[in-house]
């Protein structure tokens, strides 16, 4: 399992793809980072301590919105990481090798998942360098940082598992990437539909549908992590989501054997 993960990681980092993805991502992140940092520092100079409607807390007013912006970027970047997981194997014909090898499907699956997640974690690591630099100019709280990054890791885990599932459907990487993006986006905005649920399904079923749609909204569960709160219900949601995504991927890969 770890051998597979290692192989995956090596594949990512031996080709320039990982560097290009992380490098481009960090340019975007850097622009967001600097814009909001500049704004925040200027606010601090204009507003005397204790004045104004709320205190200037760097976690609350800078890091939290910054990481929320980062999540939007992940929406675009993560499909680039996951699209190749199975699609590439299929295209290059190594899928048969994998299926007939003595390593079990689950080992391969988890290995690939860990590999992709490591690349994602490396991306988060780069953003963490930016955020940690703030400690040189002030005293941010570190506990909310830990919860926020835990949330980001779990959130990304969900996307990676969905991305792998989509990648297992096709041998075309571009198709896999596009489909993953659409699925991510759907999961992202699903709670927008929640408001109109009662109108669509009537007063008896509507509220239930609304609650379910709200619950499925993948970003909603990150909010508490971003604030500095750990809530078991969000942990359960993310872990179940990842589990189900990986389980479906396993079934999908398995069906490769007997489907015509």
């Amino acid at each position: 399992m770890f051998a597979i993960a290692q192989k995956e990681i090596r594949a990512y980092f031996a080709s320039p793809i990982a560097y290009v993805v992380i490098g481009l991502f960090s340019i975007l992140f850097g622009v967001f980072y600097w814009t909001i940092l500049d704004w925040f520092v200027k606010q601090g100079m204009q507003m005397a301590p204790g004045m104004g409607p709320q205190s200037l807390n760097v976690n609350e007013r800078m890091i939290r919105p910054l990481l929320q912006n980062a999540m939007v970027m992940l929406l675009f970047v993560l499909p680039m990481i996951t699209m190749r997981t199975y699609a590439e194997e299929k295209r290059s014909g190594t899928m048969e090798l994998l299926l007939t090898s003595p390593i079990t499907d689950v080992q391969i699956l988890v290995g690939k998942f860990l590999g992709a997640l490591t690349l994602y974690a490396a991306m988060l690591g780069v953003t963490l360098v930016y955020v940690l630099a703030l400690f040189a100019f002030g005293t941010p709280e570190w506990k909310p940082l830990v919860t926020a990054y835990l949330g980001l890791l779990l959130f990304g885990g969900c996307f990676v598992s969905v991305g792998m599932l989509v990648s297992s459907f096709t041998k075309n990487q571009i198709v896999a990437g596009m489909m993953t993006f659409v699925v991510f986006l759907l999961l992202w905005v699903i709670d927008w539909l929640a408001g109109s649920a009662t109108g669509l399904f009537g007063p008896s079923v509507g509220p239930v549908v609304e609650e379910v749609l709200n619950y499925l909204s993948i970003t909603q569960h990150f909010d508490d992590f971003g604030k500095g709160i750990i809530d078991t219900k969000h942990l359960i949601f993310y872990v179940s989501f990842i589990t189900f995504g990986l389980f479906l991927t396993a079934r999908s890969v398995d069906s490769e054997r007997w489907r015509g």
Binding site: G30, K233, T243
Partner: protein, 530 residues
């Protein structure tokens, strides 16, 4: 034959179920959705029958390897999904939560938790917001905790601009109004602070009506009169905020009613009798709240209201025998003359806290604190007229000719105080009513005196901020402003200080340095592999 029949019934079943689904989902005729169930059941029965008829075929399909495997797959997916759904349902019902922020910003106080735990019915919270003009995040952060603390709480965000009808229905007048609905009662709160929200919840949950009494018998303004000088508009406003309004003749009653939250003496023409003043004095000693609105005498020969003024003097009020004249011309903006002084800015006081409207007082006298107070009470001025106004002592001259000027030494120099308030802890510890929250603030005696009663009459109450001034005063007197005191939990002030050189350094590192290094590593790997 049998086969054919089963085939047809299959199609029929599918058609029935589809129609049922369509009926169920269509929004136009909700009454039809009742038929949907019958159609669906009929369809399913048909399907079952045809399956029974053709069971041999179906069994044969299942024996094929591929179908068997895909059935296994579908079943296993359904089972796993079911288990996960179950875990998540349990997870949302019983979750644990840890707030790791330094000041526990997102943790509700014990008082709020207690209030929420005692809810035994749905509490609907509606936030009326404006997309453009306010920061909704603070409301969301705060109310999410309320929602989490009690399953009875449900929060809804209403765009006050787009859903005008709803805003009107709930009598919402300002962005950021939070409407609390519980058990058919409604309470309105402005702001996202925990103190305001929880106070509002306590009010809407207990639902006890605070009674306001207006004294009668000496030519006071009547809450039932719809005349220009009447107080019926004020009565309506009070009732909208869940106050009960009633009249009381103290001489008949002998004492101030025990349930009086506030006693109002609104512009008496003749003096109160000694036993009446005695009744009020006793009421105040037990933590009573009094509001006196005292108009200036009609002429220099009018008899002074000695008893009433004596009572106010004991509480430290200085009552001037004058009419306040305002030469600033501010009153002309809404068609009033110089005898209608206008207040545009207010001294710091809880009554006028966050209050930004002009108020106008037709024919007012000066009422302020006595120089050194009395009996240890020194009222605080909360209404003050403009610097270009004065207290004209020549009342007869003013009334006859209307032409007056400021006489140094004789007249009171502006700005003139025309409204003042005093509060004092209750001397003798009164028995707290049973069931009172022990977190409730201790009761205080509170007295407000204003040198005018017309500002709240039907004719003038709608002028500028007059109504709000009156309601704020009543709110302060009734000690409705804070039923509990909660220390506001603000995130601590943690800011970043950077020199210009440092900002420049960070700029280059963030946008060029770090990404550049990573891309360079990429180029290096690519070059090495070639």
């Amino acid at each position: 034959m049998m086969r054919k029949l089963a085939d047809y019934s299959n199609w029929l079943a599918i058609a029935l179920v589809s129609v049922a689904l369509a009926l169920f989902l269509q929004p136009w005729r909700p009454e039809w959705s009742g038929y949907a169930r019958y159609l669906a059941v009929a369809g399913l029965v048909l399907l079952l029958l045809s399956m029974l008829a053709g069971w041999r075929d179906i069994a044969a399909t299942f024996q094929r390897r591929q179908t068997r495997l895909s059935t296994i797959t579908i079943t296993s997916v359904a089972v796993v999904l079911g288990i996960l759904v179950l875990i998540n349902i349990i997870g949302t019902r019983q979750s644990k939560r840890w707030d790791l922020t330094a000041n526990a910003v997102y943790t509700l106080s014990d008082q709020t938790q207690n209030v929420l735990k005692k809810l035994d019915g749905p509490l609907a919270i509606k936030v009326f917001y404006s997309q453009k003009e306010m920061d909704l995040q603070r409301y969301k952060d705060q109310l999410a905790e309320y929602e989490h603390a009690s399953s009875h709480v449900s929060v809804e965000y209403v765009d006050a601009d787009r859903q005008r009808a709803k805003a009107i229905q709930y009598k919402v007048e300002a962005y950021g109004t939070v409407v609390l609905e519980y058990n058919g009662r409604v309470e309105r709160v402005t702001g996202s602070g925990e103190q305001d929200l929880t106070t509002g919840i306590i009010k809407v949950v207990t639902g006890t009506q605070k009674k306001i009494y207006l004294t009668q018998g000496h030519g006071e303004k009547s809450p039932d009169s719809t005349e220009r000088a009447g107080f019926s508009t004020v009565k309506t406003s009070l009732e909208r905020e869940n106050y009960g309004v009633d009249k009381v003749a103290l001489i008949e009653h002998g004492q101030v009613p025990a349930d009086a939250a506030v006693l109002i003496v609104a512009g008496p023409k003749t003096d109160l009798l000694a036993p009446e003043v005695e009744a009020i004095r006793k009421y105040l000693a037990g933590g009573g709240k009094l509001m006196v609105m005292l108009d200036p005498p009609e002429s220099s020969k009018s008899a002074p209201l000695a008893n009433l003024e004596g009572l106010l003097r004991q509480w430290g009020f200085d009552i001037g025998t004058n009419v306040v004249v305002d030469a600033s011309g501010l009153g002309q903006i809404f068609g009033a003359d110089a005898a209608t002084p206008v207040a545009a800015s207010y001294p710091a006081h809880p009554i006028t806290d966050r209050f930004g409207y002009m108020t106008a007082y037709p024919l007012a006298r000066s009422i302020g604190p006595l120089k050194n107070g009395a009996n240890g009470h020194t009222p605080d001025t909360f209404i003050r007229t403009s610097p270009r106004s004065w207290g004209e002592s020549d009342i007869d001259g003013l009334m006859k000719s209307g032409e007056v000027k400021f006489d140094e030494g004789k007249d009171l120099k502006g700005p003139v105080s025309i409204g003042a308030a005093v509060s004092a802890p209750v001397d003798a510890p009164v028995q707290t009513p049973a069931g009172a929250d022990k977190n409730a603030k201790p009761s205080e005696t509170r007295v407000v005196a204003i040198g005018d009663s017309d500002f709240a009459s039907n004719a003038y109450v709608s002028v500028q901020g007059n109504r709000d001034m009156f309601m704020n005063t009543i709110g302060w007197l009734a000690q409705q402003e804070n039923l509990i005191s909660i220390r506001p939990r603000e995130a601590s002030d943690r800011r970043l200080t950077m020199t210009t050189a440092e900002t420049r350094l960070i700029f280059f590192l963030a946008i060029f340095g770090i990404p550049g290094a990573i891309l360079a590593m990429g180029v290096y790997t690519w070059w090495r592999r070639r």
